[in-house]
């Protein structure tokens, strides 16, 4: 047997507990015959027992306490994510509300420019939409981000979002006079706040739904 290769390989296999009975007999036979290998084998076994004999070291007495002190405080994020995982329904509801409000707010903030529903004969001056005298507006009139002055007639509902209805000089408050009704043949809405705007949107949606049903 080649001491350097075969016998040495068998020795290590023996030390790894992977020797078959046949190999073990072979190794034993060789070790009895070869003093050199016997010495080598003895040294290997002794080395292992020396390493294993070196006493087990223990962690310092307050080790656990120190680890617990160094532990990161539970991050808010992990708290939230854990909560979300445990309450899928509420999470879905929360996401829904965030998206809904987000949509409303962005619609609200979308443009601060004066916009008006498409009708002819309207005059826009310095953020004021004017229905001139001798003009009759057919259909509903919607004004956004601007004021409205009615000098002529509106044949429909009037809605002013983020603005107000201006009185003509030396005219009574148009909103509570009979005279005013002469100008507008329909409902008058003034919307100035986000929440009113939301309410208005909801009302509009609901009205649309019912209108559709009626049709």
């Amino acid at each position: 047997m080649d001491c350097k290769k075969e016998a040495l390989a068998l020795m290590h296999k023996y030390l790894d507990d992977e020797l078959t009975q046949k190999e073990e007999r072979k190794l034993r036979g060789h070790l009895q015959a070869c003093g050199q290998c016997q010495k080598h084998f003895h040294e290997l076994k002794r080395t292992i027992s020396l390493v294993q004999s070196s006493s087990q070291v223990s962690a310092p007495p307050d080790f656990t306490k120190k680890v617990m002190e160094r532990l990161p405080k539970e991050k808010k994020r992990t708290n939230y994510s854990r909560w979300f995982r445990h309450h899928p329904f509420l999470t879905a509801a929360a996401v829904f509300f965030i998206l809904m409000f987000g949509g409303v707010f962005s619609a609200w903030n979308d443009d601060q420019q004066v916009s008006v529903s498409k009708q002819d004969n309207l005059v826009i001056q310095n953020q004021v939409v004017i229905v001139p005298e001798n003009v009759t507006v057919e259909g509903d009139l919607v004004v956004r981000n601007g004021d409205l002055r009615i000098e002529g007639l509106v044949n429909g509902d009037v809605t002013v979002i983020n603005g107000e209805i201006l009185e003509k000089e030396n005219q009574d408050n148009p909103l509570d006079g009979d005279k005013y009704m002469a100008y507008v043949s329909g409902d008058v809405n003034e919307v100035n706040q986000v929440f009113e705007w939301m309410w208005y949107q909801v009302k509009k949606t609901v009205t649309n739904i019912f209108t559709l049903e009626e049709e």
């Binding site: 790894d16 040294e43 290997l44 292992i48 390493v51 962690a59 120190k66 617990m68 990161p72």
Partner: protein, 187 residues
């Protein structure tokens, strides 16, 4: 024990600190031993072992419960320690001596309480010597020797911890064993 640990892991994943404390108490000596035998001094070993547990805690969601927890934990500890060894490589040989002395200090602190009998002092010296010889091995042999003979892991477990094939583990153990034999045969 594995089932108890599995139960604890579930609790830790739910954010239970107390369950984690139990796990640290259970594994502290094993993890500390791996770090200490590989890095060589108790101050750094403690720091590394603590870091290993903290990493295990913060990454607990990534632990696959079908696997063995100890394997995962030892992997974190060995990786951290090997990283540290790599970083301090330039002065590695310089403070090899210091490391050995530190080991001696640890034992001499023990001795401070009560005078040790002659033979125990002798065995302490021998242990310090063996500790130094293990530290003199290149890190890749050192890790397998520590895991195999001090933590008594199976070849397969060592392969899992170090993420290397079993064949490589065997080769490293054989070479490490031969290297130690040369250093320790005169003891």
């Amino acid at each position: 024990m594995e089932t108890v640990i599995k139960q604890k892991i579930k609790q830790i994943k739910k954010g239970d600190h107390a369950a984690f404390e139990d796990v640290v108490t259970f594994y502290q000596n094993k993890v500390y031993q791996i770090c200490f035998r590989m890095i060589g001094n108790k101050h750094e070993a403690e720091d590394l072992a603590q870091e290993a547990f903290i990493r295990a805690y913060t990454n607990i969601d990534r632990f696959d419960e079908k696997r063995k927890f100890s394997t995962w934990l030892y992997r974190i500890a060995t990786n951290l320690t090997i990283d540290r060894i790599r970083k301090k490589k330039p002065d590695y040989f310089l403070d090899a001596e210091v490391k050995g002395t530190e080991g001696l200090n640890m034992y001499s602190q023990l001795a401070a309480d009560q005078a040790l009998p002659e033979e125990e002092v002798e065995s302490l010296e021998l242990q310090t010597y063996i500790h130094k010889e293990i530290l003199a091995l290149p890190p890749k042999y050192r890790s397998v020797i520590v895991l195999r003979f001090l933590d008594e892991l199976s070849l397969q477990e060592i392969a899992d911890v170090l993420e290397i094939p079993v064949g490589t583990v065997k080769t490293r153990i054989h070479r490490g064993r031969e290297a130690l034999r040369k250093r320790l045969r005169h003891v």
